[in-house]
């Protein structure tokens, strides 16, 4: 395939479409608004088709993994699992239709298997987070000591007993979150936003290397 088809043409298309959408934000031109709506439709079609392709891709990939099992026992176990998943998927689709959200079989799976597992992982997550707090609450440098003190003040301000009996702790906690913390967060978000805009402009101008074939 020539470089023009592989690289130049997609870059040109991205630039035209991208700048048209940017222009739509600024200028009240009906043709641009229509073009943007039409693009939304195209994106939806690509999205739906890619989900179908993704399903086929994932299934064939799983099948390939299954065929590679080193022992007969593993082949039987993973094959049974694979077959069960395929049967469940087929039952969901052919019994209840494609709209899985209102499908009784899918909902059974959702409420009895998926949600309990998710909830267990959530619980694990919060336990891990509480357990790992000690890693950040260590006074190893001037900065981490300030962080530790600020964190300590905020935690104490959230405890009703302290808020009631220690004068000013509540206000101090509010100051920590609404002062230094917010002051640090806003510039960080602004810098990230500027970075995002630059990546966008780089892509529109066809200079973004990560999304391009170079070999």
């Amino acid at each position: 395939m020539s470089t023009f088809i592989r690289k130049d043409l997609p870059t040109l298309l991205i630039a035209i479409v991208g700048f048209a959408i940017v222009a739509e934000w600024f200028f009240p031109i009906k043709a641009l608004s229509d073009f943007k709506s039409y693009l939304g439709l195209v994106v939806t079609i690509i999205y739906r088709v890619s989900i179908g392709i993704g399903t086929v891709y994932a299934t064939t990939s799983e099948y390939a993994v299954w065929r590679r099992n080193p022992t007969k026992q593993q082949t039987i176990i993973s094959g049974s699992m694979f077959a069960m998943i395929i049967i469940m998927a087929l039952v969901c689709v052919f019994y209840g239709g494609l709209d899985a959200g209102y499908n009784a079989q899918y909902r059974w799976f959702q409420y009895n298997i998926y949600q309990p597992q998710s909830q267990a992982m959530y619980a694990v997550m919060f336990l891990f987070q509480c357990g790992s707090l000690y890693r950040v609450c260590r006074a190893r440098s001037m900065e981490s000591t300030i962080m530790l003190v600020a964190g300590g003040i905020f935690i104490l301000s959230c405890i009703p007993l302290f808020a009631s009996y220690v004068p000013g702790i509540s206000e101090l906690g509010t100051f920590v979150t609404q002062g230094p913390s917010l002051g640090g967060t806003r510039p960080a978000n602004m810098a990230a936003a500027i970075g995002a805009i630059i990546v966008g402009l780089r892509s529109l101008l066809g200079k973004e290397q990560s999304t391009m074939e170079t070999t």
């Binding site: 934000w25 997550m125 990230a192």
Partner: protein
């Protein structure tokens, strides 16, 4: 008939400045003029170290965008693009040094061709396309963030982990996977431009791409002058914004109604 939509004049002005500065620095790069250097980013150096570690201890390097990582539309798409650069860098290093590379695909199936292409490209550049076993080492877990986190943790247990890299649009839900990698003794490297999710990396990672560092890292790994040039434009814009903030503060203190000015 109005030429501009109401309230968009400042947007247009800012966009023009953004575009002008970017084009100016890209032009400098195309003419071979000097560009500012990007300082070394500790997390990038650590990726090289982690891949080397993977070769030594014969354990794989894991890479992931997170469960919702590969967004291809909206404001977060830039994080996907930045992470793609780091993905190619990590995969390329694995191919060159001979470490096993495991890629955990995010839950967006429409992004799979893009991500697969990026990894293929990295292995192709090193002339080792056969070294990446896609059927075994490219893993898709379907939808569900908790499923993703537990599947990653399970993968760390089954295959081992020398280094775990998680860069892109992250949510805090990926935390159990990071902790699992830490328990397994891996080097954890993470980064996101989503400030609200940064704390999980602070808790679990050995090295972090802090906020917008992922964009700089994504550009630095390509070693391409145009990418570096755009980062120079970004820095110039930051100074511009600092100046605007300072002027705004002074004017506000002097009693000027700043929001009213921007309502044009």
């Amino acid at each position: 008939m109005e030429i501009l939509k109401t309230g968009r004049i400042w947007d247009l002005l800012l966009f023009s400045i953004f575009l002008g500065l970017t084009i100016y620095y890209l032009d400098r790069a195309s003419k071979g003029k000097s560009l500012p250097k990007i300082r070394s980013i500790a997390a990038l150096e650590a990726i090289r170290e982690g891949v080397g570690r993977g070769v030594e201890i014969r354990k794989p390097v894991h890479y992931s965008f997170g469960p919702y990582g590969a967004v291809v539309s909206g404001a977060d798409v830039s994080q996907t693009v930045a992470s793609l650069g780091i993905l190619q860098y990590t995969a390329g290093l694995c191919a060159r040094l001979g470490a096993r590379f495991i890629f955990h695909l995010p839950q967006q199936p429409f992004a799979i061709p893009l991500l697969e292409g990026a990894v293929d490209e990295a292995f192709l550049k090193e002339g080792k396309t056969e070294a990446f076993d896609k059927a075994r080492d490219m893993r898709f877990y379907g939808t569900g963030s908790m499923v993703f986190a537990s599947a990653m943790a399970s993968s760390f247990m089954d295959d081992g982990v020398a280094m775990n890299v998680l860069v892109g649009r992250q949510t805090t839900i990926i935390y159990p996977a990071l902790e699992a990698a830490k328990i397994q003794g891996a080097i954890n490297i993470g980064g996101t431009a989503r400030w609200t999710a940064m704390y999980i990396f602070a808790l679990t990672c050995d090295y972090i791409f802090i906020g917008e560092e992922i964009y700089a890292a994504g550009a630095k790994v390509t070693d391409n002058p145009y990418m570096i040039a755009s980062i120079a434009a970004e820095e110039a814009l930051k100074y511009l914004f600092l100046a605007i903030l300072a002027i705004g503060l002074i004017l506000s203190a002097a009693g000027v109604n700043i929001p009213a000015i921007f309502k044009v």
